[in-house]
Symmetry: D2
Subunit: 345 residues, 4 copies
């Protein structure tokens, strides 16, 4: 079969690869229909993810059709259309029983990282009964690819952890795909204000079309003042960090209101300064989270009920044969305007 | 001043009445600008509310302008535009300190019940600092009259108690003003389905315009089956009772899914049958509540941010001089199609 | 093997029965070490549980040793000591993924009900990875038998649903084994008052030894007044119903404070009167629940840390050969003083 | 009257001072019966609290007797015994209405800071109805002095924010008075393990007597390993920071389990390093809080019900005449073993 394989920092190729087979009774082999590329895949290509070794098929998102099932699989049968979760959950370990699937002791984020992933014609999904989701007949496959990772990540790590509420004020720092996913899903809770912050005016323009009530370019250095002004001097009830660098996290520390929550989504490579000398008495909360994908059934309901238009995040479409080009387009988002791309297998 | 006074069952009149004055240091006298009529006012006129004695000025809703303030008032000054809450809260007693303003030991629902109310040119508001809300300059007064009682009641007793969530299924039994208020505010949380139930097709038609995903007339006796069909056989996650009679409450018992919540809003005059022989193992929750109006600041924010169009509930407008006619129109809602009426003082 | 088998209303016997074998890849065969008798077993013997057909081995509690495992079992191996949960959970269905194991679509309460149970030398446990718990080496087996059903039931249905809090007031109506289990586990949260109510002075005496701050015999008809007196006229913050008849549930309705919670544990055979004419504005909550056994890991920790002495519930011990006698002793609790009995297999 | 007055860094004296009078209608003048010294008072004496100006009477804790009341006071009358809260709450502002009394716009921590405090014969309490608590007749005054600040601070900022639960594992870093207050109140929730960490063996010895399940001296540099070993390699579910320096906060970052909560109580003077490069995917929560004293009524109930022995924190007793000596004893805690001291006025 064709597969997109990582060969060490800076090296990757679309090549022929052995088709996967059932290895454990709880496995399912899925024929990929549509997949996509995640910002994390770019991190792997840079060599930033040591758990991902050369030879690995990348990709942890996608929808497909069940081809074969292991003996212990009871929830799926060949021919079923399925959504693949970026998080593999055994459903049995202490973490899974607390619904913290991200920390499953034999799962978590392993697809396209510790085991072969979805940027291929076929993929083996371990713990399939608790890691795949049946797709409703009337659902749009492209929309559902957004439910493998980006929408639950924005929703769980940003919106749920940030306790976005009707009438509240929210700032989302970072208007890339993940910040926009938080923006779309924050609107489930009807906050009064959603202020988007970014350095790129084009992305801020998109944010406004997606429902932001204000969009601020932080390059002029006055964004803290601007947010304070928009919130009666108090700051925001919820600040969602969707970049992953010290400057943006510390911006969140400056704009959070007493009693507010800073919900981190960003993947950080270095430590940040936490200004407890001013925040110790602020009654604030800071949260971190790797997505657990516990919200996937709810998001499936919401997509079907047309409460969210997940396809708005999709800007480009490719065939699997063109995946190297897709990586170029996705990797140069500033020029191409790419948000999420669809790869048809 | 002119005031609308209750004179015992079936008797009421618009008449001259002494203007109220400051009685306690925490009082404020408000000049009424706009008020309305509540279903509870009709109950009083029928003689169903023994705490309301003849001679009482009716009404517990409205917006106005502060005329005079007591010595202990710090949050308001003469000339301020204010929203009057239907619930008076001292802010000091055990219940108030738990935010259960409805059970304030010297407040609660007293306006137009135990003390004179808002259907007059002036009203005395006790515990004013914690029972009035400042009105933003840019707010629509008619919309805000809906925030005195009906919107917080539908929201707190129905939507918040019912834990309406994104992706969930909700049934609202009763499509009168209070059921419609629950319908409007349930949408703050983006549930996947909101099924309205009523006996009146005209009200169900309004419900659909207000955002219901299904509207069922229960007179054919098949409404339980219809709701089960709409919810994959499970029933609804949240059933909101907005009528107040045994039949509608028991309907909620029949349509609630395992793990679901029945949130009662209705004012009940007699006991109901609770079918614990079938519900004891259903992991269900039943809640009752007199509105606490703790959500009023959030609703003010939401109205200002245009997240809800509160004026959709208003069907008729009158001057205070025409209040007896307003009661007729409101009391014959089946014929007149009245939801909420505005009375201009 | 020897097994205790139900043969229709009023008929049961200890007899030879075929030993169970692995039927599904997720099964485990457990050699029973210790089991017990539940009040529900008595209901079955009376013919009150239609899902339990003649020929069924009874029992849904116990500890044992893993004998054989199915191909898909990954959490246990032969020789492991295990606690058997009264609730079987697949870990995969919609309810299990919401941690509502009681409503698992292929599990729930099936042991000793829809499939053969634990009052035997061996038992087959379906969905074993998510329905058994490993026993710590240093744990007391008799104490752990109390964790199969009675302690999680009292804790989840009564204490957790009732939101018992430090400083709060609790009434537990019914001082039988399940009421006492609620009493023991309520103390995890250090409420200020726990008032036990029963008709049997001996059981009330036990309740006092187990930590009740007051013990009231309700036969004199003044228990409502007595509870109001103990709570400053307000009633209790939490009323736990641990009997299952209309009188005791309606007692809970009379003693609940505004803002309080009635948590039902009792298995009810008939409907009850819900006095909404007085409770509609009481801001009260009523909950029902079949135990989900989600608290089992926490209870295991607490037993090990000596935060609860689960063995206090055990009054009698028998060998499996004497199980018919054990049923007599347990069934005539008023005379024998039996709470929980241990059956050694 | 006699009063203990701050005269700038390093300078303070017991001296004659004008007796306070009613300034606002909501004021009460309290005759002090017993007060105490807080660690924060030492900070003021060092000059670390710029809001506290020379000439200020210190102290924000105590019990006393109401002497005179303002015209708007309704909850108290002369002669009432009262507990003084360290936090003054107007009960009216946006923060108070969210029960975040610490951020009251005209209150918060002002006693002995922005206005004269309790280390005197009399004190003026603004917003008295919502800042004083009636003392039950049968309560112990010395125990209640511990409820002005230290117990609610340990409980709210540490235990409640840290979501201490039955069966969970807790580490408290810092075994001074505030860490010990967290230790005492953590036991309301019956966690399985409470590990105390300090550099002083004497304080660790006290911690063990107060209920710690383990007490670790961190000076050997192996405390992280020791805590991991005690928690099966996972770390603790809740880490409470009760010192206020970077090293202790960063220790909390190292010992927190996935899904855990770091609850900060410490008053920090400088920033700390937040290691998001390792915590970004840890599903952890960090909270800060200035005590709101919302738990005071619950703590009063718990002290009365003997669920907590608050007096265990008291090591020394003085008369007001000896307050300078009391400051010496309290300030040299390492030598004197002082925890909390009682000053009798």
């Amino acid at each position: 079969m064709k597969a997109h394989v990582y060969h060490g920092p800076g090296k990757h190729a679309l090549e022929e690869h052995a088709k996967p087979g059932i290895a454990e009774p709880s496995d399912v082999i899925v024929k990929i229909v549509k997949t996509t590329i995640c910002g994390t895949d770019l991190h792997i290509l840079k060599g930033d993810v040591p758990t991902c070794e050369p030879g690995r098929i990348l990709g942890h998102e996608g929808v497909g059709i069940v081809e074969t099932i292991g003996d212990a699989v009871t929830m799926f049968k060949p021919g079923d259309r399925v959504l693949i979760s970026c998080i593999t959950a055994c459903g049995k370990c202490d973490y899974c029983r607390r619904l913290m699937f991200s920390h499953c002791v034999t799962g978590g984020w392993i697809l396209g990282n510790k085991i072969d992933g979805t940027q291929a014609e076929f993929v083996r999904i371990p713990h399939a009964d608790t890691s795949l989701y049946p797709i409703p007949d009337d659902a749009d496959e492209e929309a559902l690819v957004m439910l493998s990772d980006i929408l639950p990540t924005g929703f769980e790590c940003g919106v749920l952890n940030g306790k976005v509420q009707p009438g509240s004020s929210v700032a989302i720092v970072g208007s890339g795909p993940i910040g926009l996913a938080a923006l779309l899903t924050a609107q489930f809770f009807s906050p009064a204000e959603i202020i988007m912050v970014d350095l790129d005016d084009k992305r801020l323009e998109i944010a406004k079309r997606f429902g932001a009530t204000a969009a601020l370019n932080s390059k002029d250095g006055h964004v803290v003042d601007a947010i304070k002004k928009l919130t009666g001097g108090r700051g925001v009830d919820c600040a969602i960090e969707a970049v992953g660098i010290p400057q943006t996290f510390e911006l969140c520390e400056q704009i959070i209101a007493p009693g507010g929550i800073i919900a981190n989504i960003g993947v950080h490579g270095v430590k940040v300064d936490l200004h407890l000398e001013s925040l110790w008495d602020g009654n604030i909360t800071i949260t971190t989270r790797l997505v657990d994908t516990v919200s996937t059934p709810m998001l499936l309901n919401s997509v079907r009920a047309q409460k969210i238009d997940a396809k708005r995040l999709i800007t480009h479409r490719f065939k699997l044969d063109g995946i190297l080009h897709a990586y170029q387009v996705f990797g140069q988002a500033a020029e191409t305007g790419a948000l999420k791309v669809i790869i048809e297998a």
